[in-house]
C-alpha cells in the first residue's frame, strides 16, 4: 500500500495505522501531530486510525519561527 507521507510516497504494510507509521518513522509520541487527508487525527486515535491506499498524511512538529 502506498500513502503519501509529508508529500512523498511511502510503501507501508497493509492495515497500517497512524501509530504504526509514527513508530516506523522512529518518532516518539510527543511534539508531533498527524493529519490524514487534511483531518487531524488525535493521538488517542492513532492505534485505531487505519491508513488506506493513497492517503495523504502530514506529520508535523515545530521549528524556529516568528
Amino acid at each position: 500500500m502506498t500513502a503519501h507521507v509529508n508529500g512523498k510516497p511511502m510503501e507501508l504494510p497493509a492495515e497500517s495505522t497512524v501509530a504504526g507509521l509514527i513508530e516506523r518513522l522512529g518518532l516518539g509520541r510527543t511534539r508531533v501531530a498527524v493529519e490524514v487527508n487534511k483531518e487531524l487525527v488525535v493521538q488517542k486515535q492513532w492505534e485505531s486510525a487505519r491508513l488506506k491506499e493513497g492517503d495523504r498524511v502530514e506529520v508535523v512538529t515545530f521549528v524556529g519561527g516568528g
Binding site: 507521507v5 509529508n6 511534539r31 508531533v32 487531524l40 515545530f62 524556529g64 519561527g65
Partner: protein, 269 residues
C-alpha cells in the same frame, strides 16, 4: 519588575516582550537571547517532520518549559484553511489552546490577507482557541478582528523582517483607541527604539524575532529590546509633557549675575 499584571487567555504574563525563535545562528545563541530578553512567551512555527529525523521538534529542547510559554504560530500559511489546520495540529502536539494566527497574502510583502485572516479567526475562536491575530495596521481591520473574537490584535509596525520599525504610529494610536482587547505590535522591529516607540504609543506588548536573531550580537540586542520595552511601558504610563515649538528654561530667570549681554529681542516675545 515594572509591569502591571497582564493576562492573555488563561496566562498571566510577566513580560510584555514576546520573542520568535527563527533565524538565530544556533540554538545556544537563541537560548541565551531568550534569557537576556526576559520574555515569557516564545513563538514557534509548525512544519513537517523531516522523514528520517528521529528527534522531532529540537527547537523545543532550547526552550525551558518551566520558564517560557510556547505560542505556536501559523506562519507560512496563505489560506484560512491551512492556518486552521496548522493551529489544530499545534494544539494537539503542544496541548495548548492559543495560537498566533497568520494568514499571509504573498511572499514578497508577507502582508496579512484580511479576508483569510478573518475567516480563520472566526473558525478558531469557534473551536475554542485563544487567537492572537496578526494584522496590518489598519484600524478598521483591527476592529473586525476584535469582533471575530480574537484575544489580541497584533498589528504590524512594518513588514515582517523589514526592520523598518513603526511606520504609522497614528494608525497604531487609532487601533489602541478603537479596540478593547490587548494590542501587541508584531513585526518590523529593527532596533530597541522601535520597541520603545510601540510601547510608548500604549501597546500592551511587542513581538519580534528578526531584529534580535539577525543582530550582530543577538544576546546584547535581546537585552536592549527588554530594556526598551520596560522603558516604553513606563513612559507610556508616566504622562509625558506636551510637545511645544519653543523652549522653556529649566533654570529660573531670577537671581542671575549682572549680565554682559542681554538676550536678543525676539519678535512676539
Amino acid at each position: 519588575m515594572p509591569y502591571a499584571p497582564f493576562k492573555l487567555g488563561k496566562h498571566e504574563l510577566r513580560s510584555r516582550l514576546f520573542l520568535g525563535t527563527g533565524k538565530y545562528p544556533d540554538l545556544e545563541v537563541m537560548r541565551k537571547a531568550l534569557d537576556a530578553s526576559g520574555c515569557h512567551v516564545v513563538t514557534v512555527a509548525v512544519r513537517r517532520v523531516e522523514i528520517g529525523q528521529k528527534h522531532a521538534g529540537q527547537i523545543l529542547d532550547a526552550i525551558d518549559p518551566e520558564r517560557y510559554l510556547i505560542l505556536p504560530n501559523t506562519a507560512g500559511c496563505f489560506s484560512a484553511e491551512d492556518a486552521v489546520r496548522s493551529a489544530r495540529l499545534a494544539r494537539e502536539a503542544l496541548a495548548v489552546d492559543w495560537v498566533k494566527l497568520e494568514v499571509l497574502a504573498d511572499k514578497k510583502t508577507l502582508l496579512p490577507d484580511p479576508l483569510g485572516t478573518l475567516e480563520a479567526c472566526r473558525t478558531l475562536v469557534k473551536e475554542g482557541f485563544t487567537v492572537l491575530c496578526y494584522a496590518s495596521d489598519d484600524p478598521v481591520m483591527a476592529r473586525r478582528i476584535e469582533d471575530a473574537g480574537a484575544a489580541s490584535v497584533m498589528p504590524a509596525g512594518s513588514p515582517i523582517g523589514s526592520g523598518q520599525g513603526v511606520l504609522n504610529p497614528n494608525n497604531i494610536r487609532i487601533i489602541l483607541e478603537t479596540v478593547k482587547v490587548p494590542v501587541i505590535v508584531d513585526a518590523g522591529v529593527g532596533t530597541a527604539s522601535d520597541v520603545c516607540i510601540a510601547m510608548e504609543l500604549g501597546a500592551e506588548g511587542v513581538l519580534l524575532n528578526t531584529g534580535v536573531a539577525l543582530a550582530r550580537d543577538p544576546v546584547a540586542m535581546a537585552r536592549a529590546m527588554s530594556l526598551a520595552c520596560e522603558a516604553g511601558y513606563l513612559a507610556a504610563r508616566s504622562g509625558r509633557i506636551a510637545r511645544k515649538l519653543y523652549a522653556t528654561a529649566s533654570s529660573p530667570w531670577t537671581g542671575l549675575i549682572e549680565p554682559a549681554k542681554r538676550p536678543d529681542e525676539v519678535a512676539g516675545e
